[in-house]
Symmetry: C2
Subunit: 455 residues, 2 copies
């Protein structure tokens, strides 16, 4: 009979209650947490051996990175063995000519960002949880974040992968090549697969050139539709690194929470936060003038220092934390940029009609069509009552997304949270083919069972 | 019994010998050409009906775009029905906020480039056959070309696909979203699948901002290894749009063929061609000085006008045509950029040792590790004798590629030409999974049978 002790040293296996509770879940709440063990492999071979073990013992494996997920993708609720990559956290190689870093899956995003900077280069995927999320988890969820408008998603920086499939085979996908036209590119199948097709062990990450110092501008925009006009006005004149937005309600919450001054004397319905290279300041100034003349923008402020830039970013990045006490009902949605204003109006209308006492707190990456919908819990409702209403609300909101061919999970993945709603974004035929892909790469259904697709 | 006439109008069906000869092959020679008919669908529904027909009649379908392929991917040699997208050549939609163009698969690459320019935007995938290649074929082969170093490959600009699978299902993949974390991204499976998994009907293409006017610099570089030092020296100071190279032999051939002047008074072993935004001229000047001081570069010229830039590009783009009379033995290979000098030396050594009378004419996209290997036929050998030697050479050259984890087809695809050598770039496990993917998307094996994978 195969045992974990036959594969790993004692220090690589934990089964005490506290460890099971810690490594058995991610940042998502509301799902049962009941793994049978947590293991910490140190090599690709040990990962393969763990898959062999799982095949022999018919036990599920739940891959676990920084556990910052918000869809329950790393929750182990059925006696699975959690495979943590915490001990596979080394940078294995750097190739300057190709600007390639080979990372083990457990390398922390921020460590990779810092390593890149030490080489005079840049890892452009960045988001709030960069300090704890791991590169393997980023790849498994195709992490996005705040620079997508300029640099794309994690997918765009994955030049190679070493992955162990559900059959225990170690695949070496692409090996860092820029051009490789030798058939189906499985690398892109593993990106965003949430650990259901293979266990990502190593990633060849392409790095970018270091950008110029960045400047931040915050603009007051009364009309949602004008947020897109502002975006177009700036895009015509310069390259933006970020284009975020938040509502006046979101601003009020973050200001109260972090005791920040208001950017402008008079409140405005919406705010856009723009980031760009300092060399583009003149072009940004022209764009600003243009948007003011057009009446799209009524007020604006631009950072005069890195410290001010950071302070302005707080207005956007502090929102999630500042509304947490309201235990918001969250959804991470996307539509094409063009449809954002109408979609936002659809949702506002729906909430107003169905739940007049609920406040919608809008913010997100509007420059790429990604809206973070947060509905705040009114004082008079208990968390349970409110969450029940939220769950009742979901299908109706997803139907509004479906009507616009949008995504019910823009960047947070499907995991357990969105699994049963996948049909709002993927057709029956697609879901059938997805199940076929799962069957092909994980015939015994041992990899992250029940995530993304029903087991 | 199903008939083509039941699906299409007479003008959409051709079976005369001349048409079969024209649409039955691409730019690749040496494979039998014997389709049973050529059809010209005009809608996604007609494409679906053709798949239903193929399933009922158990006949193969060979998708056909601009037929500029160099690996036999669009050759019909066994009575297949050729599905030409020539009549599906309309641009269906333009969405300025998202910079999205929806094209039917038959839109010519150059038409898309021109359309983008009319919108004040830019379609950055460009290569010699842009005037006849079609967007559907570009997606099916993940076309690369001369701007990859800055803009990536076709894959990077595909925001959505409408594809008909081998089961006749029309899939709507991604619909132009930037962020969509709802499971396996099949879009990327179809990109580069050479028509073996589905028939690409429509593509949502993302456009880029129009670049500044470009300047071209040609540098004389005596040592291959210094080509990479030059690349690094420039990359540290500016963003390059292209970094190509060619040998003095390649230059001699193109100059003789097009009667062009030499760039420098004294010949140099290798030449680098660089393209960059005119705004980067000073930075490029600094990089040039630096490379001269280091002794990597012995001579250089920079374009003073768009006409001069075009003239300098001729030195690189005219090569393929100028060596055609020598019926070269061609191979399109890639390794990581870091390995280019040693790999190039490996091949030179091998050819010198085995075929001392053969001349190797090197050129290609060295900035992304893609080398076009062309071995010229000596006068004293007939085409047949020479090609026989070439075919004997291939496995030995592919073994050199394999030793460096490179690609035996950097950007020209596998088709028929490289099919039986796939194992030099893909492992047994990968090929088994690729066959599983084929089985999943085309269970009856009717889509481009025998291409990429053995039927």
């Amino acid at each position: 009979m195969a045992t974990l002790q036959g594969i790993l040293a004692d220090k690589q296996i934990k089964s005490d209650a506290e460890s099971l509770a810690v490594w058995g879940k991610d940042w998502t709440n509301g799902f049962p947490v009941a793994p049978s063990a947590v293991v910490f492999p140190e090599s690709n071979q040990q990962v393969q051996a763990l898959v062999e073990y799982a095949l022999a013992e018919r036990v599920g494996l739940v891959p676990s990175g920084g556990r910052t997920g918000l869809s329950g993708g790393a929750v182990a609720g059925n006696g699975e063995v959690v495979v943590s990559f915490d001990r596979m956290n080394r940078i294995l190689d750097f190739n300057p000519q190709d600007r390639l870093v080979t990372c083990q899956a457990g390398v922390i995003t921020q460590s990779l960002q810092e390593y890149a900077a030490e080489q005079g280069l840049y890892y452009p995927v960045d988001f709030a949880s960069a300090g704890s999320s791991q590169i393997g988890g980023n790849v498994a969820t195709n992490a996005g974040g705040i620079k997508v408008i300029r640099y794309g998603l994690t997918r765009d920086w994955v030049a190679g992968l070493r992955v162990v499939t559900g059959s225990g085979e170690l695949l070496d996908c692409n090996a860092g090549l820029v051009k490789n036209a030798t058939g189906y590119d499985m690398r892109h199948l593993f990106v965003g697969s949430e650990g259901t097709l293979g266990l990502i062990c190593e990633v060849d990450v392409r790095l970018a050139a270091q950008p110029a110092p960045q400047m931040v501008m915050v603009l007051g925009v009364p009309q949602v539709v004008d947020l897109l006009n502002v975006l177009a006005g700036f895009n015509q004149r310069l390259t933006l690194s970020a284009f975020e937005f938040f509502s006046d309600l979101a601003l009020a919450k973050v200001r109260a929470h972090r005791e920040l001054p208001a950017p402008f004397a008079t409140p405005v319905a919406y705010y856009a936060l723009l980031e760009f290279d300092e060399g583009s300041l003149d072009a940004a100034g022209e764009a600003f003038e243009y948007c003011v003349e057009k009446g799209w923008v009524v007020d604006g402020v631009v950072s005069q220092s890195q410290a001010q830039a950071a302070a302005l970013w707080q207005l956007r990045e502090g929102i999630s934390e500042s509304i947490a006490p309201f235990t918001p009902y969250k959804n991470d949605l996307s539509v094409t940029i063009q449809q954002v204003p109408e979609f936002l109006a659809d949702v506002d209308q729906f909430v107003q009609d169905s739940y007049p006492d609920f406040e919608v707190c809008w913010y997100g990456h509007i420059g790429d069509g990604n809206l973070h919908l947060n509905i705040l819990r009114p004082q008079h409702l208990s968390v349970e009552e409110f969450m029940a209403k939220g769950h009742a609300m979901s299908p109706k909101i997803f139907a509004l997304v479906q009507a616009r061919r949008g995504s019910i999970s823009a960047e947070h993945g499907v995991g357990l949270l969105k699994r049963d709603f996948l049909n709002y974004s993927r057709s029956e035929a697609e879901i059938r083919l997805m199940k076929g892909l799962k069957e092909l790469f994980d015939p015994a259904q041992i990899l992250n069972p029940g995530k993304l697709l029903k087991a």
